[in-house]
């Protein structure tokens, strides 16, 4: 019974990893590929590590597995976000099929600051990020 649960969990996890790697191979854009990696980090690795925890059934192994799962779930989206931001600021070529780019015109490429409102509607940032708040 225990072995059956381990088999099922690890099979589902490895199939998830395979599906994300196929997507990694076939997607056409850097941003789509960055979007894909977090799936293997969360569900694929989570199920594989959980199968190890069920197989060994010791407290030391379970705590190690939990720490690894929590660390990977916390850090993989952060790394993906930083990489996507760097790619966007470097103006890496987008896919031609991209219809909506919500970040167009929002980033200041010199200071690398993101404005939260549309810049082309006569918007001025209220704070000068180099000198502090504006005095009126």
């Amino acid at each position: 019974m225990n072995e059956l649960i381990v088999m099922i969990l690890s099979t589902i996890g490895s199939i998830f990893v395979l599906s994300t790697s196929v997507a990694m191979f076939r997607k056409r854009d850097v941003y789509l590929r960055i979007n894909v990696t977090t799936k293997t980090a969360t569900l694929g690795l989570g199920l594989l590590l959980a199968s190890a925890a069920i197989f060994f059934q010791e407290y030391s192994v379970t705590t190690r597995v939990l720490v690894t799962i929590i660390f990977v779930i916390l850090t993989a989206p952060i790394g993906g976000h930083m990489l996507a931001r760097a790619a966007y600021l470097n103006k890496i070529k987008k896919w031609e099929g991209m219809k909506i780019d919500d970040l167009a015109g929002q980033y200041d490429p010199k200071r690398k600051v993101l404005y939260s409102e549309k810049k082309n509607t006569s918007f001025e940032p209220p704070v000068d990020y180099d000198k502090g708040p504006k005095k009126t």
Partner: protein, 92 residues
């Protein structure tokens, strides 16, 4: 079919095929960001392979290496992202 045979004939080949696919993307990737994200994904899949081998050989100490790989993957991705951001500034 025992657990070890099942792992060696089903789960390890699935992970091996996925490693090969991502490695092709690592070699092909048109930009540097593609290579960095595929390297990150390779290390994440290495964590899974280490876990599978720790079950096959019944050695729970292999999981320490999986934890180390998670740390190294995050550090490498963040360092490469910072490098990608700052690299453009020096060229201009």
């Amino acid at each position: 079919m025992t657990l070890v045979e099942y792992y060696q004939y089903v789960v390890v080949p699935i992970l091996g095929v996925s490693v090969i696919l991502v490695f092709i993307r690592f070699l092909k990737g048109p930009s540097l960001a593609d290579r960095v994200i595929s390297l990150d994904m390779l290390i994440l899949m290495a964590i899974g392979i280490v876990v599978i081998y720790s079950i096959i050989y019944d050695q729970s100490t292999f999981l320490d290496i999986a934890m180390l790989f998670a740390l190294i993957a995050f550090l490498g991705t963040v360092a490469f992202a910072y490098y990608l951001e700052e690299r453009k500034k020096r060229d201009e």
